[in-house]
């Protein structure tokens, strides 16, 4: 196991996970995961398919019941108290076309103002939603049905949704899964910008090693357990990647940032 350790006090920890074990369909997905995410960092979780990245994220927000182990968010083990400080962006929404929720209505749901939203529109809510959408350059989508958005548009709306209550922690599960490849890079730039501007802790699951190299301040390579962690430069060295992915990966320099095989995306 390769470790680069930093000394931080407990108050600096955004998420701490101790010996987390999750079994799904008889298969041990997480086999004793330990990690301590520090506040203000942009943390990337990388690993091959089935390595438990999504499961880990779901377990942190209580969507996946662990067999054993302990999760604390900002030192709080009671999820009910911790969740108001968390924004979560799922991998995709299985939205039915027949559900004609508009983007404006969807965002209003986060503010719990549906009762008002149903009977009359409140101007200050509207202003807040417009400003939040404008920040991510998606203002024009406000009156579109959410089920009709493209992958990239939906991801922007989901990020706005997650940011509406000013969370301290933002969790993103493969945010570029539905985004076409030219849009991917600008999308990660956008997340980097959100991270800087809102001064929050961001955790994102990614396949994309070049993104990790450019934006992340800390990287966890996962494969059932934490194989290695450290700065992107440290983790991207071939030995630790090999351990995480269980295959031979040689990152190479290209246009100033590192890529794995297959255009930087390891599947």
């Amino acid at each position: 196991m390769t470790h680069t350790t930093c000394s931080h006090s407990a108050a600096d920890i955004a998420v701490s996970v101790r010996d987390l074990r999750v079994t799904l369909g008889g298969q041990a997905i997480l086999r004793g995961v330990n990690l301590h995410l520090h506040r203000g960092q942009l943390v990337a979780l990388i690993g091959p398919n089935g390595s438990g990245k999504t499961t880990l994220l779901r377990a942190i927000v209580g969507l996946q019941k662990p067999d054993s182990g302990d999760v604390r968010i900002f030192g709080e083990s009671d999820l009910k108290k911790a969740l108001p400080r968390v924004g979560y962006v799922p991998q995709r929404l299985a939205l039915d076309r027949s559900f004609i929720l508009s983007v404006r209505e969807f965002l209003a749901l986060r503010l719990r103002e549906t009762q008002h939203w149903f009977w009359h529109r409140k101007r200050d809510t509207d202003d807040r939603l417009r400003a939040a959408m404008a920040e991510l350059g998606a203002e024009s989508l406000l009156d579109r049905p959410i089920a009709a958005l493209s992958g990239g548009q939906l991801q922007r709306v989901l990020i706005v949704f997650a940011l509406l209550k000013n969370p301290d922690l933002l969790l993103l599960d493969e945010p570029t899964a539905g985004v076409d490849s030219p849009g991917e890079e600008s999308f990660y730039d956008l997340i980097g910008e959100v991270h800087r501007k809102h001064k929050l802790t961001v955790v994102l699951v990614s396949h994309d090693l070049s993104m990790v190299y450019r934006h992340a301040s800390w990287v966890y390579a996962l494969n059932g357990v934490v194989c290695c962690e450290g700065s992107p430069e440290h983790v991207m060295n071939a030995d630790s990647l090999k351990e995480a992915y269980g295959l031979n990966v040689t990152p190479y320099q290209h246009h100033g940032h590192s890529h794995g095989p297959g255009g930087g995306i390891v599947q």
Binding site: L63, L93, F99, S102, L109, W117, F118
Partner: protein, 275 residues
């Protein structure tokens, strides 16, 4: 001249139940259709037949409560089998639907004096709506309607994404069960009017017609309520005037609105199907 003086009390009772249950089914239907629960609704309606038969077998004059209870049992069975087996939900529902119908028909055929009841419950009968049914419908509509409006926000969020609803603090499991409970009670109590075979149409057609015209959820909810109200009212009046069965009349009234909405959306709203 009092326009109600010539109308017989049974007609007024049926009309009252129709204008109350129509909008209620339509409002529930907005979420039922979006959550792909139309077949679920159909299954619990057919489950009621077994409850009705059991009610008669146990000597109930009015099988309303056995009917509601058995529908709830079927709903619970669907949820349990879904969680504890690897069977597809469609398979589970088809199994319970046919099982309940078969059981109900066998029991009713054995009760010689109740054979005529089968037709009434399958297709609905306004003559069978009693004064107690009117009160039950009104109280239920007020209670469930109020509950639905206070839960609109979490329900809409749950429909959009169960995961997001959880992270936003919605007790998703509890809300799912509550929704199924409310849907089961409303559907089984609408059977008197519409009949087992057609009751789901009141849950499905108004929101579908509203979907053709609406540009957001608020519009769909309001339009669906109006169409449910219109369908219930127009159907019972047509049933009385032309002496046709009430359930099919309500369904045809809703379908007429659906066709108009479909044509309107294609011709005037210029709304492509993709948005």
């Amino acid at each position: 001249m009092n326009i109600f003086s010539d109308i017989e009390p049974f007609m007024l009772r049926a009309f009252a139940v129709a204008v109350v249950m129509g909008p209620l089914c339509a409002l529930l239907g907005v979420f039922v259709t979006a959550r792909r629960m139309a077949f679920f609704s159909d299954t619990i309606a057919h489950g009621a037949l077994a409850g009705i038969a059991l009610g008669f077998l146990l000597g109930f004059e009015d099988p309303t409560w056995p009917m509601v209870l058995f529908s709830l049992l079927v709903a619970a069975a669907i949820l349990w089998l879904k969680e504890h087996t690897d069977l597809l939900t469609d398979t589970i529902m088809a199994l319970l639907l046919s099982g309940s119908v078969a059981f109900g028909i066998i029991v009713l055929s054995m009760l010689k004096n109740k054979r005529g009841e089968l037709h009434r419950y399958l297709f609905g009968d306004i003559l069978s709506v009693g004064p107690d049914d009117v009160w039950l419908a009104v109280v239920l509509c007020a209670a469930i309607g109020a509950w639905l409006f206070t839960k609109l926000s979490p329900l809409a969020l749950l429909t959009a994404s169960e995961d997001l609803a959880h992270v936003c603090g919605v007790r998703t499991r509890w809300l799912n069960y509550a929704f199924v409970l409310v849907l089961t009670v409303v559907v089984s109590l609408s059977i008197r009017l519409l009949g087992i075979i057609l009751v789901t149409s009141l849950v499905v057609i108004p929101p579908a017609a509203a979907r053709n015209l609406a540009r957001n959820l608020r519009q769909q909810i309001i339009l669906s309520l109006i169409i449910g109200l219109f369908g219930g009212a127009a159907g019972t009046v047509a049933s009385y005037h032309w002496d046709i069965p009430c359930g099919p009349a309500i369904v045809m009234a809703c379908i007429a609105v659906f066709i108009v909405s479909l044509v309107a959306s294609k011709l005037w709203l210029n709304k492509p199907a993709s948005t």
